[in-house]
Amino acid sequence: MHSSQKFIAAAAAASVVAMLAAAAPALAADGKALFTAKGCVACHGVEGRKPTLPTYPRLAGQNPDYLFQQLSDIKGGNRTNGQTVAVMKPIVSKIADDELRALADYLGSLGPFAVADAKGPDGPGKQLFLTKTCFACHGKEGNKPVLKNYPFTAGQNKAYLLQQMKDIKSGKRTNGAVSAMAPVMHLVPDEDMPAIAEYLSNVK
């Protein structure tokens, strides 16, 4: 090889390395290891599948962009409802952003959140889910969110769903895409929320 060819080959290699480094910083962080190392398993269960309390959300297979938004917002103080400040904030505050992304991607890879043809029981909850327009954004049976940063709700824990509906309606939770949901929550009477949560939690 001539010296000029060696130089060009080296420059090409360096360019490829730079490209990879710019494109994939998260390769350095191991989401699966972090989920255990940072103590997430203690509340959310192994692989985030079976939380230890019904007020904690299932995470396995959730949209990674949604999860990352929640983690960032809890860390940054934009989401302060429920247990997010007392329990989660101290933990995620010590986790670097690229590690939060790795956690979100890891959890997202454990899908599906609910099986593709999951269905929930007929009844008032299902009817409300349709008539109150929830399905428009969360998808039929809460299983096909219309944007990548909207959450799957099919099969989510009932108590957690109920809390989120209440908090979004009351303004206690305002982070991320809640700005899209909050303006329609006045359509949902408080007394209708348990039925909706019951229905969604039983979508499988």
């Binding site: 490209m19 494109a23 428009a136 219309v146 895409a177 899209a180 303006p183 329609v184 359509l187």
Partner: protein, 245 residues
């Protein structure tokens, strides 16, 4: 030698694409910003306006919209969602294009204006054409009805010159039909326009309504909500859209 140079060029190009990131549609200027021109057109709005609209295809697109705007296109009388039935073809295209391009902020509506949900410029034209086939709600949401004389006066002096003597709007000029629109929706948009939150607003309108008091606002919008649409544009009470039964 040539292969090496080609590889280097590809790597350089790839690096550029990775660093520039996803190519996003360029957001236009907002009302109040220097250089803002209302209804400057361009982009998808122009694309959609040039196409031959197909109302039949638009019906399939409208199914997405019907979830919130209702199968009849009547929205909700509490104003959460506006009535679309009776709205002008060009107005619908412009608003959809503006929401899609981020020139009008509406987080709730945003996903449903996206190509991934409703399709490209043809779909925008088609759904606007389908909406033209829908007759309006004979019982839209109205105000309190206790200050209509003032409302009538304010309307004639301020609004009629653009929105028409009966609030019928003007398709060619992109001025929306506001007659028989839900009062609460009118209120929300009006406040949004007045306060500069509605970034694709007409600056002449923004300026004109600055001096309106709360009483003025309620009076004129109540009056507008009660302005009847032409009889041939209005559905009978309780009408259901047979396209979605």
């Amino acid at each position: 030698m040539k292969t090496v140079i080609r590889t280097l060029a590809v790597a350089a190009a790839a690096t550029t694409i990775f660093t520039v990131g996803a190519l996003a549609a360029e957001k236009g200027k907002s009302v109040g910003e220097a250089g803002y021109v209302w209804n400057s057109g361009g982009g998808e709005e122009d694309e959609a306006l040039k196409l031959k609209p197909n109302a039949k295809a638009g019906k399939d697109v409208f199914e997405v919209c019907s979830a919130c705007h209702q199968p009849e296109g009547w929205g909700l009388t509490d104003g959460t969602f506006p009535q679309l039935a009776g709205q002008h073809f060009k107005v619908i295209i412009k608003q959809l294009a503006d929401i899609r391009a981020g020139n009008r902020d509406n987080p709730t509506m945003y996903p449903f204006a996206l190509p991934s949900q409703i399709g490209g410029a043809q779909a925008v034209a088609d759904v606007a054409a389908y909406i033209q086939t829908l007759k309006m709600n004979p019982e839209n949401g109205k105000g309190e009805g206790n200050d209509l004389e003032l409302g009538k006066k304010l309307f004639a002096e301020n609004c009629a010159k653009c929105h028409g003597p009966n609030g019928e709007g003007n398709n060619e000029k992109f001025f929306p039909r506001i007659q028989a629109q839900h009062y609460a929706y009118l209120m929300r948009q009006y406040e949004s326009i007045k306060g500069g939150k509605r970034r694709n607003a007409n600056p002449d309108m923004v300026k004109q309504i600055q001096h309106f008091t709360e009483r003025d606002t309620k009076a004129v919008l109540d009056y507008v909500s009660r302005l009847p649409a032409p009889a041939d544009k209005v559905a009978p009470k309780g009408w259901k859209n047979p396209d979605f039964q």
